[in-house]
Every structure is written in C-alpha cells, then in structure tokens.
C-alpha cells in the first residue's frame, strides 16, 4: 500500500464512522432544537431500535427491508411513550429537573434492556446487500460506508423540507421560539411534541440499524457511548442546528480515526478525544460551530 492509499483508507474509515455519529446526532439536536430538552435517553432509544430490528428479522417471517422500516416506526412510538411518562409530567418545571428525569429514563431503559434482552451480546443480522466490500485501487470500502452518508444527507434534506415547508414544521418552529405564545395561537402542543419525539426516536433507530450493520454486536449498554459521542457532535456543531450536527459528527469521526491512525500511542484515549473536543468548544465557542448566539429569554 502506498502512502496515499493508506491516507485515503484512513479518510474513508473516518467518514464512515463520522457519518454514523452525524446520523444519531441529527435526532439528538432536533429534539433539543424544538423543546430545549437534552434527551439523554436518545442513546438508549437507539439501542431499543437495534434490538427491535434484531427480533424482527430473527423471529418474524417479514423480509429484512420491511423490518428495517417497521422497527424504526415502532421505536418512534416508544419515543412518544417515553415523553408522556418521563417528560410530560415535568413540563414547565426547571430545566435541570427534566434533565435529571432524562438521565433516569436512560438508566431505566438500559437496565430494562439487560432484564429483557439479557446481558450477553447478540449478533446483528446484517443483510447481504449491506455486507460486501468494494475495492477502489488500494482502498477497501464496505457498501454500508456509502449508504450511511447517503441516508444522513437524505434525512437532512427531508427534515429541512419538513420543518420549513409543512404546517406541522411551522408549528414546531413556532414552539421552539416561544412555547406559551405558540399554545395561545391554537397550536396543539401535545401533538407537536409527540411528533417531535416520534421523529427523533425514528432517526435514532435508523442510526441504530446502520450502526448495527457496521458493528454487528448488540448489547443493552451499546447506546451509551454512541449516544454521548453524538451528543458531543451535536454540541460541537451547535446544538439545535441540524446541519451543525452533521458537521460535528464528521469532525468527531474523522478526528478519532486520525488520532488512532497517526498517534497510535494515544489510541487508548480515543474516547477522551471527544470529551476534550467538547471542553474546547464550550470554552471557545459555547454556541457551537454553526450555532446562533443564544439570547437568554427573561
């Protein structure tokens, strides 16, 4: 392998990982952007999405592609349920209260996962279509690596269209600007919040399925680290900003791979890299790369 093709291989690896972070970060940032709520259970919703897909493919006669659509839809409804149980009763209370409720929900889902799915890892059934390797020159690329960014960009376009062009999207944006006024204008707050959670959880499940296709090891705690990393990606990009989340995801993925590739001595610190990046961003540009200046409402 020449030096150029090694670098290209590292670059491909980084893009592949980064686009996964980006995909999960989109859901994270969307919920925050509209409700100003950091849904710490996002990573665990992601885990539920992967497990639902696993059980769907293994235990039902449905074809895999149908399961890949149905499981995220089901996960979306679980997201709505989670909001009704963990967040709705606290609506209007201090933000820290809801944040703590979110952390509690995260632990609940993780431990529920251990009880229901068992502690031993499962192998994700990767469809053959997503599981072959293309060689371009000296660079090997798994097909999933192409699919993930494509899905991310499609979702990005779809979401942008949805929030800017549709009436529900308009209501969402109104809600994110001013919760009380929006409700006075006749917007059904509960419905909009449910839709937001549905979409966020749907996206988490899509991210989970692609994550599982790339790293086919399922564990009840599998959502914790990708969840944290995507949260960091969302903050780096500017939380609440969907394009920012995608950019943040790519920075994180590429950064991690390049760190391990070129400073192998530091490879034990790859998780630390994400957190150091978070600290730097919070010190230098707290609103994130793409974030708007936040003016505190009084």
């Amino acid at each position: 392998m020449g030096d150029v093709s090694i670098f290209l291989q590292h670059l491909t690896n980084g893009i592949s990982l980064g686009s996964l972070y980006a995909l999960i970060a989109i859901g994270y940032t969307m919920v925050y952007g509209i409700l100003r709520l950091i849904n710490f259970a996002h990573g665990d919703i992601f885990m539920l999405g992967v497990y639902l897909t696993f059980y769907g493919v293994i235990y039902t006669p449905l074809p895999w592609w149908l399961v890949f659509i149905l499981a995220p839809l089901l996960t979306g409804f679980i997201g709505i349920l989670l909001e009704k149980v963990a967040y709705k009763p606290l609506r209007g209370s201090a933000r820290i209260t809801i944040l703590i409720s979110a952390i509690g929900a995260s632990f609940l889902l993780q431990n529920l996962g251990i009880v229901i799915f068992g502690g031993r890892p499962r192998a994700f059934p990767v469809p053959q279509l997503l599981n072959h390797v293309i060689k371009l020159g000296g660079v090997s690329i798994n097909v999933v690596t192409f699919i993930i960014p494509a899905v991310s960009i499609l979702l990005l376009i779809g979401l942008t269209y949805f929030t800017t062009k549709t009436k529900t999207g308009l209501a969402m944006r109104a809600l994110s600007k001013d919760y009380e006024t929006a409700s006075l204008m006749g917007i059904d707050i509960n419905r909009i919040i449910s839709i937001t959670f549905f979409m966020g959880s749907f996206l988490a499940a899509i991210g989970g399925i692609l994550w599982g296709s790339r790293y086919p090891q399922l564990m009840p705690l599998m959502g914790a680290m990708p969840g944290l990393k995507s949260f960091i990606a969302a903050v780096v990009g500017g939380i609440g900003n969907i394009t920012g989340a995608v950019i943040g995801g790519f920075i994180l993925g590429l950064g991690e791979i390049m760190l391990v590739a070129f400073l192998p001595r530091l490879s034990g610190y790859r998780d630390a890299f994400a957190f150091v990046l978070l600290i730097i961003i919070l010190l230098v540009k707290p609103s994130g790369l793409m974030g708007n200046k936040v003016t505190e409402k009084v």
Partner: protein
C-alpha cells in the same frame, strides 16, 4: 405472660437462625453476568451450578452458592467481593473470568483472609504475592509461548502484528508474553512489525487495522474480549487483511462465532479444555452431566468453574472444616486433584500447571487441533 412468650419466641428465632447458619456452607461467586465479558461469566456459572447439583453437600452440611454479577467492571468486581464477604459471610469465593476483574478483588480477599479460587483469570499478577488467591487454570507466560510456538512452527510465521486491549490486564499480559516468545523463536528482535492498542468497548478498529495492513505481517495476534475481537477480525477481512488471526482463551464463546460470522473462519486460539479430548475420568463425568443438563457440549469455562467448586469441596472435606483459614491452607497444598480439565497441582503462587488446548474455528464451530503439554 406476654413478655415471656415474646422472649421465648425471640430465643426460638435466634436458635433457628444460628443453627441454620451453622448448617449451610456459603460459597460466593463473582462473575461478569452483564457487560462485555457476560458470556464468559455465564458459561463459568453454568459449570459451578452443575457441580453444585452433583455435589450439594459436604461434611453433612448443605452448600449454598451466592452469585454476584460484577458487570465486567473493575469497580463492581471489588464491590461484589466486599458484598460477598461482609454481607453474605461466605467462607470461600470463586471467580472471576477476566484477569482485571480478579485483580480488582485481590486486595480485598487478601485483607479479609477469604480464600478465592479463580477459574480462568490467566494473568500471573492475579495470584502473585496474594496468599489467598488460587486458580485452576494455567497462566499467560505459558499461553503466550504456546501461541508463539504455534505461529512459528505450524504456520511458519516470520513476522507478526499484535493488537491488544490496553484496558484488560489479560490482553496486555498475554501480548507481552507472546511478543517475547515470538522474538526468541524467530531470533529476530524486529519480527513484531506492528503493536496496536484499543479499549474495551471500542467498536471501530479500522484505524489500527489499516496500519497493520500496511506492515504486511504473516500473522496477527489479537487477544481480547470475544465481542471486540470478532468485530476486529470482521473489519480486518473487509480491509483485505487475509493472514491468520491468533488469540487466547477468551475467544471460546458462541458470540465470537455469531458476531464474527464467516470472517472468523480459520481463527486459532489456545484454551483450557475441549469436549473433544477428555483428559481424565472426571472429564467424562462432567461432560455427561453437562450434556444432560444443558443439551449441548461443554466449553472450557464451564469445566473450569466445575473444577474450582469441586476443588474447594474436596479441600473442605479433607480439612474436616469449612473455616476460611482451613480452606486456604488446604488449597495451598493441592496436589494431584483430579478435575475435569486435568490433574491440578498448585505451585507456590497458587497457579495450576496444566496443558493447553489449541482450537480453530471451522465451518462455524470450534474444532480441536492439538494439546500442548507444559514445558
């Protein structure tokens, strides 16, 4: 009158409680039942439970085992043994799969003077300078040499790359012994062409593997948790690394096969025991009982769990006492104990000197290649 009845009742309750505690012998088990080592812990506990079923009594007293999940986490492992000692008042402990987890418990059992028998922690430091820690398995200087021998003599390897999990003492230790032995066998100090690291819980190894591919080694030695290793080998095959992968005993888990899929075909690893080559009469007893209870063939970890339990019971019987100190002294003098995994004699450190088995993945199954006697 009421007072007297109350007092009588109290005395009665106390009497029952104390007689019950004198009756039952409690043995603690701390194993990873969740987290990245869950399969290893579960397989070991299967073996211990089977042993309990076959031999639930000693000195005319019932034996009870108390299993605590150490969650594949060093802090939880320390908590688990503390709980077993302080709350459950166990007389001896069995565990744990994972050298780091065992080492986290080492100081506590040493201070509390509760004898502990490891089933499969292979890092030498687990028992070193700890008069209360013993084990029924071989240790990594042997295991590393066995695999280096295999690589050089059977596969004709002249160069190797090593990928280790820096958060597991098992992986780091085993890698070191492999590297030492490989350099000596090849007579070439530069025969290890690449040394890479990752952390438990990592899912992406493409950066390390791209660097490994660039060095074109003859074989890759990558001891680590079965899950991470399976993903690692999968990604290696995707990147076009087609040389043999070698590892250690942790690879013997059904998850290694299911997560690794076709990518792990041909992977070779050392382990403690195989159902294909029973070594003692006790192996046959164990294998038949396991087959009856679980309806499948036994693995090395179940066999080691079985041996650890049977060894403790043997020692209690011989000492005629279930006192922790008596058990410790008995364990230290273990000689010629016939277990399922072989004849166990513990050396001055409390380590067993035993043969190793080399297995290979073939057609989605583990097949037995050969047995290597201790040098």
């Amino acid at each position: 009158m009421k007072k007297t009845i109350g007092l009588l009742l109290l005395v009665l309750v106390l009497a029952i409680a104390s007689s019950a505690s004198a009756e039952v012998i409690k043995i603690g088990v701390f194993e990873p039942m969740t987290g990245p080592n869950a399969a290893g812990g579960e397989m070991t506990v299967e073996g211990i439970e089977l042993a309990l079923e076959l031999r639930g009594e000693v000195l005319g007293r019932k034996v009870e085992i108390i299993v605590v999940d150490n969650k594949s986490d060093k802090v939880e492992a320390a908590n688990a043994v503390s709980r077993l000692i302080e709350k459950d008042k166990v007389v001896a402990i069995i565990g744990s799969y994972g050298s780091s987890l065992s080492m986290a418990a080492g100081d506590i059992v040493n201070k509390a003077q509760v004898p502990t028998v490891g089933c499969s922690p292979t890092n030498p430091l687990v028992t070193l300078n700890n008069p209360y820690y013993f084990r029924v398995c071989f240790i990594d200087p042997f295991q590393g040499t066995v695999m280096a021998n295999y690589a050089v003599n059977e596969l004709g390897a002249k160069t190797a790359a090593v990928i280790q999990d820096v958060t597991q003492d098992y992986s780091v230790g085993l890698s070191k012994y492999f590297v030492d032995a490989f350099r000596e066998l090849t007579g070439n100090q530069n025969s290890i062409v690449e040394m890479s690291s990752y952390n438990t819980g990592d899912q992406d190894f493409t950066a390390q593997l791209t660097n490994v591919k660039n060095k074109m080694p003859d074989i890759v030695f990558a001891p680590g948790n079965y899950g991470e290793s399976a993903l690692l080998i999968r990604q290696a095959r995707e990147l076009g690394i087609d040389v043999p992968f070698l590892g250690g005993d942790t690879w013997e888990a059904p998850e290694f096969l299911s997560i690794g899929g076709v990518a792990v075909e041909g992977a070779v690893f050392s382990t403690h025991f195989t159902s294909e080559a029973p070594v003692t009469e006790e192996s046959e007893v164990f294998l038949a009982a396991y087959r009856e209870k679980f309806g499948r063939e036994a693995n090395a970890f179940a066999a080691l769990g079985y041996d650890a339990y049977m060894l403790i019971l043997d020692v209690i019987e011989e000492a005629g006492s279930a006192d922790s100190q008596a058990i410790r002294d008995g364990l230290a003098q273990t000689e010629g104990f016939v277990g399922a995994t072989g004849v166990i004699t513990l050396d001055a450190n409390g380590d067993a000197v035993k043969s190793a088995v080399i297995n290979q993945v073939d057609d989605g199954k583990f097949i037995y290649l050969t047995t290597v006697e201790p040098f």
